[in-house]
Amino acid sequence: MNESTLFMITFIVYIIAAFFYLAFLFSKKESAAKTGLSVVTVGFFVHTLALIWRTIESGHAPFTNMYESLSFLAWSGALAYIIIEYRYRIRKAGPYLMLIIIGIMALASSPLMPKEATPLVPALQSYWLWLHVSVTLLGEAFFAVAFVTSIMYLVADTREKKGTAKQGAISSEKLDSISYRCIAVGFPLFTLGGLVFGMVWAYYAWGSYWSWDPKETWSLITWFVFALYLHTRIVMGWKGRRSALIAIIGFLAALFTYFGVNYLLAGLHSYA
């Protein structure tokens, strides 16, 4: 038994959960979704063990390279989903979120991602690594849930307008409100982890709290998009389609900050 075995078990459990969700999507049997949720919860616990194992094995936080941080992002996504599901009962979002989580897990397990735990470069040896990365990724996980519910909103809204909405489908209004709730959790987390903790750490490690490094700039852009979401919604009363579109753009910006910047733009954040 080691970390990579636990990781594979988690991966398989998530895939099984996704099958239950797919079964639910086609058969409309509530019980399939319930089983799916239990399976995800089990997978989440195994995943937690895998992360703890990794931490003990490597002696540092489990998000210092792409493989580790993808695994942690998938874990955060599962956590965010479990919280939202137990709170708001949006079974329909399950299958789509599971697909995203499985996609992240697949990416993490691809041979392109070096898996060996390498010793940390001096700049990463700090407890700010824990605070900065974990809180940011947790915030982004909630953005991911908002992304899914926003897409579901667009579909539900179109159907309702055309009159083709199915019986028992979640109302577009509820989806709109769940998206907002997710952003209400994700935005403060992202601000705290990504921007505030990021600035504090940069000040201690690089001697400058802000350097317009591409990753910093892109997290500011992401922050601006969600600020836009909140202002248009709360002050100008935008709701529905336009709000959903901004939430979708916001998540894509977060995704680019997390992933695209590393591969497409060079900068100080050259680790992960």
Partner: protein, 448 residues
Amino acid sequence: MKSIIDFFSSVKLAIFLIIIIASASIIGTLIPQMRSPQEYAARYGQISELLIRLEITDLYHSWWFIALLFFFSLNILICTLTRLSPKLRRALKPNLKFEDKTLLAAKIKERFIKSGNLETNRAELNKVLRSGHYRIKQMKKDSEIHLLARKRILGIFGSDFVHLGLLVILIGGIISGFSGFRANINISEGEIVPVLGADFQLQLDKFETEYHPNGSVKDWKSTLTVIEDESPRLTKTIEVNHPLTYKGFVFYQSGYGWDWDNSTLDILATKTSDPSSSMRAFLRLGEKETWEEENLEFRILQFVPDFIIDGNQVRTRSLEPNNPAVAIEVYKDEKKISEGWIFAKFPDFSQMHSEEEPEYKFEFKDFQTSQYSGIQMAKDPGAYYIWVGCALLMIGLFLAFYWPTRDIRFILKESEGKTEIVSAGRSAKSKLALEAEFTRILASLRRS
């Protein structure tokens, strides 16, 4: 004046500015910043001059980007101020002169008649509300009592705290830009360097590099002593992520290096025909040594820490001593007999070019080079503002999202020994929770 204020108090302007600033920031991540004009010319050709003239090549410090940030700050300030006074009035001097029909127009409302006179019911209502942690304001007018019960009133100021935090952060940024400074210095063990703009000096007592078992760098540690008025004041060992702070100056461990140009090279010359006859020399770059008995002279031409041949040129691949090599030239009886490279790690693989069978063998035994510590000195008086701003920002976000103000308004009217109660609840951000609480409060009032 009024029209200027109106212009800057608009949320639409804020949205417009956010979009423009975000778009400009994107451009700044796509076009490499602060490179040489030659690089831009090679990359963008004709338009490179335009990019430089528009300061897109140093976008985040360009006059127009700073102007955008300035307008954005003004926008935030005026937006916040114009919305602040009604909120303050609501918090400090709430209007108790509401009417039945306003209450009944609300979404969360109830109306019922209860036994008991006005005062009994008022006392009951006060008790119920207090146990629900509500703060109460009430007023009696004729036979009516108007009562306002509120909780978490600070929540309505969430966005103001966020905006204030942002302004403080922007002010901090301006202060950093104008009075912050940053400099990198390389300092060797034992060396004392002056600190720019400060009345003290810095001495490096000790510098060491720690390695992981696989050979990669684990950490650099510099023991620094602050010297003021010719006496040591403070000694601290700094490492990456753990700087030294003294009188507003911060000293960061930023790297290390080798002082290659001042290396002492240990060269051994041996006679090929008689290995017991040899001579050892410790030389610096450019220095020469004479072996009197043999009338032999050799000189160090070049030294590289990490030898590589690039095309037909020798250069160093890195600044690490991975493959140290020395180029020497040898004279016998004042006549050049050979020239070439010798390697510290490959003693048998020398590249000496000589016309005849070599009479002498040269070995590069060792080298002594001191490591220097790379220290970044910074003074950034703006940083304090940043931390205060961040704290305000986070307090504001917490208040805005998780401290929802709730208020419930009541009108109590006495008629024929009974009391009519009309009430309505208001909460911008937690309607569902308020609705549940509203129902609970009114239920316990009915029971009383």
